[in-house]
């Protein structure tokens, strides 16, 4: 049976010592966010995730969500766990207090996302999608819609969905065919088929609020003609209870490789009553509010699963006695040594550890920038944060989920044959993490977003928001006790700069060149961005050690060693990736389809 312990020491190190919770507290609206409040909230999250969500992860996988006659049943225990999750107030953690939210920082939501993904990704999909619906409705809904639905979504009493994909329209939403026809009373009648709808139907809540992309009769073609509609499963009564059943039915649930407890539904809308969210034909804007948040959340899924896989692989490597250490027995009193003595096992563990801790720092950094966007009084600073978050969103989504999957796979490998056996739980993390590379825009699409949209945006202004501070960081550390780390990061950073120049120069002439380089480029970006966080963490750890860390000495020493591991054993991948980019797209595009 796998185990999970929220890595609170690591989390607190990032929040308090590296990023500085006082930065959050300085933002108007977060005056109450003292370090001890943050710690108490972290304890509360950890307890519910460890004690309530994690024990349901394996049963959720084995039983799954099932459908019969349009009714979806979640695995045993999910209803009770959802009730506990809502009673604790987690759905509304960072939501608007005007609708019953707690108004806590998005940085803390990022921590909650990590813990939920670590303990029960399938479960996390239900509140995750609800939060996406909350965000879109909060940003673009009319006051009537907000008053009728927001408080219910904030408390978790009702759940939400995002209904985008249709059988023939996945990545390309411009060609959807679901129709919304005015009903004459300000409402619309929505008709069409949607697929891959996460939590599209279930028994956790008495009502479900669908946000549906559809086309109005006078819609212009393509993405400029998409509207967003709110379609509840039950039309609310005057006093806010679920009333008449609306025309939306679940006609099937997919059989998937992983996240089996999360019902992926096919929904049929048949003259379902709905209301416009935002302006006609401007649904894509509202949808991107949901999408961007969702992409960062999906990045946390890669990280979260990697964390749990690592914790268990580490314990197994310490417990499993097999063979002797290469330089002689480490535990002569035992029949064999624990496998953690072996360099190759350690290589795997260090790869996971350095990713987990570095990616966590980057994710919380992005979370804190999102808080700046929401609350900072200076518009210039807000713009800066907005640029950085926009730039890093595809990086977090794709890099975290690619490496998260690789990491879960290393965790399985550490267990040897036992990793392949279901009871040990390790193969579930591999299967569950696989989807994160696909949904909310495949990682290929993320790479295209980075290269095609984010790099050229505002004449490279977004890019400068990352390049400038990274350059300064490397300069700052280029003398003194961390100069080796700064030098290694500098080398990786130069590859990123070279890649950027090459893509901008070649890609202008031939977009296929940019497309051919995009995935490698995004990976270099991720390697460097995590590397920059590692340099910052190493600085803090080194300073703590110099000041005398007492009982925490081993903790900080481990940070410095792990930083060095990332810089010298992982980041050099950037050189090989850059060589691939430099080779260009010629061989990729040369073959005619028939010649493959």
């Amino acid at each position: 049976m796998p185990a999970y312990r929220a890595p609170l020491d690591d989390i607190r190190f990032v929040l308090h010592d590296v990023l500085g919770t006082e930065q959050l507290r300085a933002l108007p609206g977060y005056e109450e966010v003292t370090p001890d409040l943050v710690d108490t909230v972290l304890d509360g999250m950890a307890q519910v995730c460890e004690e309530v969500l994690f024990p349901l992860n394996q049963v959720g996988d084995q039983v799954g969500s099932t459908v019969a006659d349009g009714v979806v049943t979640t695995p045993p225990g999910f209803k009770e766990a959802y009730a506990t999750f809502c009673e604790a107030g987690f759905p509304g953690l960072s939501c608007d207090p005007a609708y019953g939210g707690q108004g806590l920082p998005l940085t803390l939501r990022a921590v909650l996302d990590e813990m939920v993904c670590s303990t029960n990704l399938s479960f996390g999909m239900f509140p995750g999608l609800t939060y996406g619906a909350y965000e879109a409705l909060h940003a673009y809904g009319s006051d009537e819609l907000k008053d009728a639905y927001l408080a219910k979504l904030v408390s978790g009493e009702w759940a939400g969905t995002m209904c985008l994909t249709e059988p023939h329209a996945g990545t390309d939403l411009g060609i959807i065919t679901t129709k919304a026809v005015p009903a004459g009373d300000g409402a619309y009648h929505v008709t069409g088929s949607k697929i891959f709808i996460t939590a599209g139907e279930h028994d956790l809540t008495p009502n479900i609020v669908h946000l549906v992309l559809a086309k109005l009769p006078d819609a212009p073609p393509g993405t400029k003609g998409i509207s967003l509609l709110l379609v509840p499963k039950y039309l609310p009564t005057e006093d806010g209870r679920p009333g008449t059943r609306n025309g939306v039915t679940c006609v099937g649930v997919e059989h998937k490789m992983g996240i089996k407890a999360s019902p992926t539904c096919q929904l049929q809308f048949d003259n379902a009553k709905g209301w416009l969210v935002g302006e006609p034909h401007k649904g894509l804007r509202a949808m991107f509010i949901m999408m961007n948040g969702a992409r960062l959340n999906v990045g946390m899924q890669g990280l979260g699963l990697s964390v749990t896989s690592y914790q268990n692989a580490l314990q197994y490597a310490k417990d499993r006695l097999q063979m002797r250490a290469l330089k002689g027995a480490a535990r002569p009193d035992q029949p064999a040594d624990p496998i953690i003595v072996h360099p190759d096992v350690r290589r795997g563990l260090m790869t996971m550890k350095s990713f987990n801790e570095g990616a966590r720092a980057l994710a919380y950094h992005v979370g804190m920038e999102m808080d700046v966007i929401l609350h900072h009084p200076d518009p210039a600073r807000r713009q800066e944060a907005e640029d950085l978050v926009a730039l890093l969103t595809p990086v977090v989504k794709a890099f975290f989920t690619d490496v998260g999957f690789e990491s879960a796979n290393i965790g399985l490998q550490t267990y040897g044959g036992h990793g392949y056996i279901r009871e040990y739980g390790m193969e579930q993390y591999v299967r569950d993490s696989r989807i994160a590379q696909i949904y909310e825009g495949t990682n290929g699409v993320q790479a295209m977003d980075l290269v095609g949209r984010k790099l050229p945006a505002e004449m490279g202004r977004l890019l400068r928001r990352f390049f400038q501070p990274t350059h300064e960081l490397i300069e700052r550390e280029s003398q003194g006790d961390l100069k080796d780390l700064a030098e290694a990061l500098g080398q990786g950073f130069r590859r990123l700069q070279q890649g950027t120049q090459l893509i901008l120069a070649k890609g202008m002439r031939d977009p296929n060149e940019a497309g051919a380089a995009a995935s490698e480029y995004l990976r270099i970006f991720g390697l460097v961005a995590v590397g920059a966080m590692w340099l910052r963490m190493a600085r803090v750890a080194q300073d703590k050690l110099a000041a005398g860390a007492g009982p925490k000495e081993a903790f900080y020493r481990s940070k410095v060693v792990t930083a060095k591991f990332w810089m010298t054993r992982i980041l050099p991948q950037a050189h090989g990736l850059m060589a691939s980019i430099a080779a260009g797209g010629e061989t990729i595009m040369a073959l005619e389809p028939d010649a493959f």
Binding site: L8, E32, T34, D36, L37, D39, T40, V41, D43, G44, Q47, V48, V52, T84, E87, A88, G89, F90, G92, L93, Q102, L104, L321, Q334, P335, P551
Partner: protein, 251 residues
């Protein structure tokens, strides 16, 4: 109803403990601390009593250094109304010393009901609650799995026995120590956590009684010997049975 709940901060029991160099205590480095399990049940029992009756006030009391404030804040975030820290450099092993300090604080509080966990999950002494009752001259019912004080005058308590149970009553005010089974402690909600920041937490010096009992030595159980594989399939069973009878002596 005016209720006091005594709360102890204890290490998470789900850890691999090490003995400190002193040889008389556990090594606290890297340990996670939380409210003792049974004290959580006691806090929940108090909350449910006052929720049912509407009104009242629940005070959480903990003895120890400033780190216990963290545990008291947790109690406040569960919904308890106020907290008192009886400040002491360390928590002595001697339950009597602690009981005197608690009794001195509780004496003037005119509490209707004083709740303890059945025992502290780390030291398992089960002594402080009954000692406090004795010092205050109050009746005491220990290891209670169901509790009814709805008439405001008497405690009706159920105690689990081996294969049976008994119902015990006594007049209020009284001291009751709580076993699991009363109610699963609720998780602190975000709303509760935010509210807890504004609830009063009073710090007073602990008037500890004399310490006469101390820990002389603490040791971990011997490490379990490695398992042995006797053979495979049914052929191994006779030898296994023989060893279970002669060596392990469990059959």
């Amino acid at each position: 109803m005016k209720i006091a709940v005594a709360i102890k901060r204890v290490p998470d029991m789900d850890t691999r403990f090490k003995i400190a160099p002193s040889g008389t205590a556990v090594d606290e480095t890297g340990l996670k601390f939380d409210m003792s399990d049974f004290d959580g049940y006691a806090a929940e029992a108090a909350l449910q009593i006052n929720e049912k009756q509407g009104g009242g006030e629940i005070t959480a009391i903990s003895l120890g250094p400033d780190v216990v404030q963290e545990t008291l804040r947790k109690a406040l975030s569960m919904g308890l109304d106020k907290a008192v820290q009886l400040k002491a450099d360390a928590v002595p092993f001697d339950g009597y010393a602690i009981a005197e300090a608690l009794a001195a604080e509780l004496k003037g509080g005119s509490y209707d009901l004083i709740l303890f966990g059945r025992m502290a999950i780390d030291s398992s002494n089960q002594s402080v609650g009954p000692m406090v009752a004795e010092l205050l001259g109050l009746p005491c019912i220990s290891a209670v799995s169901q509790l009814d004080v709805s008439d405001g005058k008497t405690v009706k308590a159920r105690r689990e026995l081996e294969g049976a149970y008994e119902e015990v009553t006594c007049p209020l005010p009284a001291v009751v120590t709580i076993d699991e089974g009363v109610a699963r402690p609720r998780y602190p909600s975000l709303k509760g956590i935010m509210a807890a920041k504004k609830k009063p937490l009073e710090v007073k010096p602990a008037q500890l009684g004399p310490v006469t009992a101390t820990v002389a030595k603490m040791e971990l159980p011997p490490e379990r010997a490695a398992g042995r594989i006797l053979g495979e399939n049914a052929d191994a069973v006779p030898e296994l049975v023989r060893l279970l009878q002669t060596e392990a002596k469990v059959l």
